[in-house]
């Protein structure tokens, strides 16, 4: 087939098979450049008499075009105000959308509302937004979530997802070390949370992490679900002063290799055992 034939085939397919854009999609594309249309949707959100479905449709349409609409950018302050007005909506579908859009824009009013509720001790079912979702929303702004609050939630999470989100967003710093190490060592905690922790703490207190890693690998084995993450944590230590501890830990891992599953052996060889052993000396 020549290149011209390839092109002609493509043109033929386009002409024969392509369906036209449906009306809904055309309308949404047109909305992206329509300041008046955008203004009308903002009015729908503000209007107390419009139904939940109408409000949801308006918010979703605005969110859909926000990724490519220069017209919406000019109406953003009005949209923010309208969404702030929906943070207390009875309909959780509206509330979630309002908070998500506002926190994605790092709106301080929305951030403050969510934070104060997380700190309030309110029952989970009474919250405007579930804890796990609130953490995720606030997490779009790296400055919005205090480490102390995340530690508190991680130690007393209302549910598994909240624990995972709290660990996901927790800084790997000295203040968080003990909480993270505790969560890592407790098998009843979800693996998704535990697996993140070795990398988070390995450079905060390398000897303490390495001691914990050695203890866990020896007592639980290299076929334990956390073993690969522990290996990655060991590999990720960069502090020169930790080198003797790293070497000791690597030696221990090497001793365990003969009884390790193939997947662990492959990973450990790739990231722990350098080709040039003299680099470890």
């Amino acid at each position: 087939m020549t290149i011209s034939e390839y092109r002609n085939n493509l043109l033929s397919e386009i002409n024969q098979s392509a369906e036209p854009l449906d009306e809904e999609t055309k309308n949404l594309l047109a909305l992206a450049g329509d300041k008046e249309g955008i203004g009308n949707l903002i009015n729908v959100i503000n209007d107390e008499t419009t139904s939940s479905e109408e409000k949801i449709s308006a918010i979703d349409s605005l969110n859909a075009v926000s990724n490519f609409s220069p017209a919406l950018r000019t109406k953003m302050p009005e949209m923010v105000n309208a969404l702030r007005g929906q943070m207390s909506a009875d309909d959780e579908a509206i509330r979630y959308r309002a908070f998500a859009t506002l926190t994605a824009m790092k709106d301080e009013v929305a951030q403050e509302r969510l934070l104060s509720e997380l700190e309030s001790g309110k029952k989970e079912q009474d919250k405007m937004v579930p804890t796990s979702m609130a953490i995720s929303m606030l997490g779009t702004d790296e400055k919005a979530l205090p480490g102390a609050l995340l530690r508190e939630i991680a130690l007393n999470p209302p549910d598994t997802d909240s624990l995972i989100e709290a660990v996901r967003h927790m800084p790997g710093d000295p203040e968080s070390f003990d909480v993270l190490k505790q969560i890592m060592e407790e098998d009843e905690n979800p693996l998704e949370a535990r697996a993140m922790i070795p990398e988070m703490i390995n450079n905060v207190d390398p000897p303490a992490f390495l001691s914990a890693a050695r203890e866990m690998l020896q007592s639980k084995g290299t076929d334990h679900d956390l073993a690969p993450s522990l290996a990655k944590g060991i590999a990720g230590i960069t502090m020169p002063e930790a080198k003797p501890d790293v070497l000791e830990t690597k030696a221990m891992v090497r001793d365990l290799m003969s009884s390790s599953p193939e997947s662990f052996k492959t990973l450990a060889n790739e990231i722990l055992f350098e080709k040039d052993e003299s680099a470890d000396q």
Binding site: A64, R97, M196
Partner: protein
């Protein structure tokens, strides 16, 4: 028998020998002991490969599977070589994951005695759902390295601290959306953005290219724990939560993306409004994702982003925007989207669709309005959208509308590569992105290609004539 030397255009260094569909220079030199100056060139696929090369005597002439050239009195000659586009073969004849084509040279009077050879990879961007295990692993390791994740030997800044985060997440933010979205510069700006990242990936491993997510087809191999992450599906009427999800992509322990971090935040939150194992991306209710043919059927004019949204520029809305909002999570919100590496595979497909449109409608002529509408200062009040305008963040300027400085080290630092056009001053302009295949001038070739967008030799012949 004297040796024949073959030097590819990017000769020297670890990045030599990577070609696409576009003709690139090949120098042949040597001195025959018996005085013959004619050399026969052909290509051979390695075992298990279908890839072949073609030879072009002069730019603008037809490609040949085998060629005889005369070295002349200087004992050297320069021709062109390119990957052979073979529709219907795996990846249309591109290399799967490594150098699998050998160009062999012999003196014409002893054509069976190979005295010179050159290993090549026909390196193109491929469908992510069809990658070999090696290609996938190579890509993930290179991407993870740029995140700061340790994937082998060598040191890294640590997960979440690499150039991917400081620079590539840092440049696609709300404060720069005026430079990047909402008008015809959307496509060329993102082409340059992807190329900057891809060239850095190739510094880690030269065999790597950005894969594309063919979002109008099911991609179960892509949405798996071994690749971009197994992604939970949620009902289509679930609340659309901009920038966030209460679910996270899950990864195999051996997948380097299991350590993905952006700053201090671990993991990737993502949930899909469609079944990622069996369906294409859905868009949203009332905002459907259009397929490839519908996208090309938007027509042969690029248009401007005004009333004429049914022209090709409308593709920024759908399928591009619709693909983004097929999920909950950072991927669905422009300022957050690159935090999810799926972003680059999504945009690689957007770029492929543009490339396919350029090929189909012959829209790679830089000075034609049909290819790009803002040809001069009179065509738009926004100077950064004009075809010769240097682009933020590589240009030392402030972004629009947020007046942001270039993030990380991107200022005057577009990644250069020996396999493609050198960008003058490390600051790209929009016109650099228009003739990316080097259709009009081989010097325009940017060093990337797609598996299904060929170089058009027939047009090259027309243009030279």
């Amino acid at each position: 028998m004297s040796a024949i030397t073959l030097e590819i255009f990017d000769a020297g260094g670890p990045q030599a020998g990577y070609i696409g569909w576009s003709p690139v220079r090949l120098k042949i030199s040597g001195t025959s002991a018996v005085g013959s100056r004619s050399v026969v060139l052909k290509s051979r696929s390695l075992s298990g490969s279908v890839s072949r090369a073609v030879f072009i005597e002069r730019f603008g002439t037809a490609p040949q599977d085998e060629i005889t050239v005369n070295l002349g009195p200087t004992n050297e000659v320069e021709i062109f070589v390119a990957g052979k586009f073979q529709p219907g073969k795996p990846h249309n004849g591109a290399s799967a994951d490594s150098k699998d084509v050998v160009v062999e040279a012999a003196w014409a009077d002893q054509p069976t005695q190979v005295t010179g050879s050159l290993d090549l990879m026909i390196r193109v961007r491929k469908n992510a759902n069809q990658l070999s295990e090696k290609a996938r692993t190579d890509f993930l390791n290179a991407l993870a390295t740029l995140n700061g994740i340790k994937t082998g030997q060598g040191t890294t800044p640590g997960p979440g601290k690499g150039v991917y985060v400081t620079d590539f997440v840092g440049m696609h933010v709300a404060g720069a959306t005026g430079n990047e979205h909402g008008d015809s510069m959307f496509l060329p700006w993102h082409r340059l953005y992807l190329l900057d990242l891809e060239r850095l990936l190739q510094q880690v491993n030269p065999a790597v290219t950005l894969p594309y997510w063919r979002f109008d087809e099911p991609a179960p191999n892509l949405f798996s724990e071994d690749f971009i992450g197994a992604t939970e599906s949620i009902p289509p009427n679930s609340p659309f939560t901009q920038g966030v999800s209460d679910k996270r992509a899950t990864f195999a322990a051996t997948n380097p993306l299991s350590q993905w971090k952006i700053g201090e935040v671990n993991g990737i939150s993502r949930a899909a409004f469609f079944d990622t194992k069996s369906h294409p991306a859905s868009g949203q209710v009332g905002f459907r994702l259009i397929n490839q043919l519908q996208t090309l059927a938007l027509g042969g004019e690029i248009g401007a982003f005004g009333a004429k949204r049914t022209q090709f520029s409308a593709m920024e809305g759908t399928p591009h925007g619709a693909a983004h909002v097929s999920f909950n999570g950072p991927i669905n919100f422009v300022p957050e989207a690159p935090k999810d590496p799926l972003f680059f595979l999504l945009h690689c497909n957007v770029d492929r669709l543009w490339g396919l449109w350029q090929f189909t409608f012959k829209r790679d002529v830089a000075n034609e309005n049909l290819s790009y509408p803002y040809q001069n200062d009179a065509s738009t009040p926004d100077s950064w959208k004009v075809i010769h305008a240097p682009q933020w963040p590589w240009e030392d300027s402030l972004s629009r509308p947020g007046n942001l400085r270039p993030p990380g080290v991107r200022n005057r630092n577009f990644t250069q590569s020996p396999t493609g056009k050198t960008i003058p001053g490390n600051v790209p302009v929009i016109v650099d992105a228009i003739d990316a295949n080097g259709q009009h001038d081989p010097q325009n070739y940017l060093g990337f290609a797609f598996d299904d967008v060929p170089f058009d030799y027939d047009r090259a012949l027309e243009l030279i004539a």
